[in-house]
Point group: C2
């Protein structure tokens, strides 16, 4: 198999075929959020969730994984038989939530979101297709939720997707564009933080969904 | 936020930090397989599965998605505010299977594999961590399986992961390195092919697992 100029022909796309690119602005916001959070607490929520998932998998308590970041690959070089290097690719908007898996026979599906806002979680933390995805998961009798951290309160909650969907629908009809902290305190479940796993969200899921 | 020379500092990694790169050889085999298959049948198994999943999601029959290809991002350029371009990245070995989701309250988890071999499916279609992953999914009471297509027989089967794990373990102790076609005919479930969805594997799952 030979590819002239080292390009991989089957993955060549024109710009028009890449409708779901993440905008650089969104990407920078994402990175900035991570850095701010890391500066403030030492560990980001995503790191805590990933570490807890690794603990659950290692102890065979559950199989939950973060999905890889979706990337549209345009050009691949192979400088040698021992490596393939992606030389042009774009971030895509994910069509589902970030995490899913199975826990004692139940399907789990969730997003992890943290905010430095003290009074609410802005709904622009979610995308329309993620809301649609959560709706279908609930319809299929999966457990769909968000893990929400209020950094300045140092509190992390599980909030069922049904609440998020309701706020989303109300916002579409002119309602508020965020979920109040007080609402999440009342309708969410506070996750205990510990050493192993650092964020034992499955203990909360087990208590409230089983 | 300014990054000198347009590089994204937080994602800079040295070679030593990238242990899970997919080798170029594996990548080329993957591509060659896809091309061979596409030449022979018009549509690859992966395309059939993806199209069927899109049908299931659109009709709210199930929520099943292919996970994005895992990529280790090393360098990102932002030529403008409207685009972020990945300029250096590497394929990583997936740590789970390719597909998962929820169907009427049950967790589904599977790989899709096709072969031009007439008499067996070689076990090198799977990786050790995928076998471990399927083991844990079964332990957590998920439905784990492979969708296996024998291209030259024009037949596609669902085979429960328990069979694959057994053959894998026997191979580790000196047993054969493939699953015979005759075994899959006997212990697998033939998937009917149709128009919509093209590969109705959920009808088979429903009949045999519910």
């Amino acid at each position: 198999m030979r590819y002239p100029n080292g390009k991989f022909p089957a993955l060549q796309h024109s710009d028009a075929e890449l409708p779901n690119r993440m905008r650089a602005e969104d990407f920078l916001t994402l990175i900035q959020d991570k850095q701010t959070s890391a500066a403030g607490r030492g560990m980001s929520l995503e790191e805590d969730v990933n570490e807890s998932n690794a603990y659950y998998v290692a102890h065979e308590i559950a199989s939950v994984h973060k999905k890889p970041t979706p990337v549209q690959i345009v050009k691949v070089d192979y400088p040698s038989r021992s490596s393939a290097v992606i030389r042009e690719a774009y971030f895509r908007q994910p069509s589902t939530t970030d995490y899913n898996g199975v826990f004692e026979g139940r399907y789990l599906d969730f997003e992890a979101k943290e905010t430095r806002n003290k009074t609410s979680l802005p709904l622009n933390n979610f995308h329309a297709h993620q809301i649609n995805h959560m709706r279908l998961v609930l319809k299929q009798k999966g457990i769909a939720f968000a893990i929400i951290r209020f950094i300045l309160h140092d509190e992390t909650y599980v909030l069922d997707a049904a609440h998020i969907i309701r706020f989303w629908e109300e916002a579409a009809c002119g309602g508020r564009k965020s979920i109040p902290y007080s609402y999440i305190q009342k309708h969410g479940y506070l996750i205990p933080e510990g050493f192993r796993p650092r964020l034992d969200y499955l203990s909360v899921i087990k208590r409230h969904y089983f």
